[in-house]
Amino acid sequence: MTAAVEVEKLVKTYGSVRAVDGIDFTIETGEVFAFLGPNGAGKTTTVEILEGIRPSTSGQVRVMGRDPWKEGRELQRKIGVIPQDFHFFPKLNSREAIDLYAGLFGVPSRAKELLDRVELSDKADALFENLSGGQKQKLGLALALVNDPQLCFLDEPTTGLDPRARRAIWAVIRGLKAEGRTVFLTTHYLEEAQLLADRIAIINLGHIIAAGAPSEIINRYGRPERLRIVADPALAEPLRRQLGLPVDVQNGAISVELHAKGDALKVLSWVESSGYSYSSFSTAQDTLEDVFIRLVGVSDHSALDLAPEGDSA
């Protein structure tokens, strides 16, 4: 496979702020690549540099073999983009918006086909200003596909969508992958990245702090599998002493790290024989979200990318 996107030592500064601080990554043709990071991490800046609408300060960037800033016009004919917080002309309806794009790209309009694809056919005649947030995003996605692009940049395409609409967008993204197109996806829904992406990069404070397939990232950065026992917290100390495994008490439950396959059985046998009573047990494994939160050092969801990212980063 050839690389659709190659980024080497990319730096973007705004005054003294290094919004993107020497990042490297490659996106292979045909893969779905998810770019994750908290607010102000440098995601949108990176995407806009790749799209050719913002120059880099230094570093090498090749998108479909082109320098996006110098050869932006040629590149933009071949890529599809849905920007974050997508807006369009308020007084145009969905069909006219697609017709306009088709006219600008010099391609035949496939308004019906594209609106069907994003499940927006029933709003073909609705003005943009009258569409809901989710419908606007769907139209944005349809516009991104007007020129039949081989590489799509989707900057938070499902933000603000209800679960059903989000799943419809996921189906479109899966369809793009099935057709062999490359997708660069930024999202703050970690579940979405885990479900859709072949590979993920996590960016924080302008640096890529983890990259790879979702399972690789979880294996490498996640905590080991744990056995969670809802029992008297007094059980924790003898457990730690007897079995030599790390034991933690959280929210009224005892969490034991499992290092080997047989550790769970050993723990449960010991608890059974100890005479302590317990009400339930379960095993738990870190999700991408757990890993993300640990890596970027945030402890609550509000710090994730729930609000549109500012221009400066």
Binding site: I53, I79, V81, F89, K91, L100, Y101, G103
Partner: protein, 366 residues
Amino acid sequence: MNGSRIRSYFVAFAKGYIRNPVGLFFTLIFPIILILIFGAVFANSGSVTVPLYVENLDHNSPASVAFLAALNSTGAVRVDVISPTAGNLSTYLAKNSETAGLVIPDGFQAALVNRTHVNVVVFTNPSAASEAGIVIGAVTGVENAFNLEEAKGSVIVSSSYLNVGSRIYTYIDYLIPGLIGFSILTSPMFSMVNISSTWKRDKLFRQLSLTPLTRAEWLTAAMLWYVLLAIVAALVMIFVGRSVFGAHVSVVAWMFPFLVAGPVLFVSVGLIAGSVSKTPETAAVIGNVILFPMMFLSGTFFPVSSFPAYLQTVAHILPLYYVIEGLNNGILFANGAGALQDLIVVVVVATVLFLVAISVFSWREN
């Protein structure tokens, strides 16, 4: 530049504009309302009178006094006899910011009696072409009357000749070109200030920058739309002016260059105002600061010649003044030379502002 992209965007832009009732109201309906209101209020206010300063070097001879009385009675000029100046009349006029003067030479009456040739000297200001047209028309008319009187001894014939030869312009005649200028100013200005600031906020320029449409194509499509709007607005206003108030205005070739260059000029001004503003609110304030003085001081509602001298000076630095003056020259006075002079000013200013607009307006972010 790609014609089909310009066409595609033009269609979308036009649809957006037509579907916005506020924009259409200010472009087409509002000027008509102004014509009806101002026309009704000032319809009976009579003609516009240009002050004409006269040096009578013929020692108030009966013939010279009769000549001046005849001029005064046309209603087109208001004769104001001043004492013969030490210098020449031209200097006096320039010093007092007056636009028209007349010198009746010594021997005027004697020449009439002896039927020898005598020449009166008319001073006009080339930058006030409309007033010049009125003065020259009135003086020529009265001269003809005097000549005819001498030849045939009939004053009546000369009167009718005067009415045909020097049309007396009414308020509504000035109002129509003024409001066409108003429409050329407001529509592109308001829209472009709004577009260049709110589209920046809503990232619509970023959206367009991701298509093959270029900035030049975008601007061309927008300007074509405003030119079309200006032409439609002008035709509607001329029609309403003629049919409701009997205005002496008609569609002439000379108005079209102004209907093209004018929107280009004010699209550029709007784009500059919107581009240098951080927020749409600031842009609106800057737009209004530019728009309102220009609207009132450029001869939109009242001829600039009726302003105090210092305001006339201000008017002469406003580009809309030259648009309206040019429209007056074209539509009212059939004064091609004057219109050309105004057009040159408008084209030069439009070109400069267009280049400035292109340099300050960017839809990619650095």
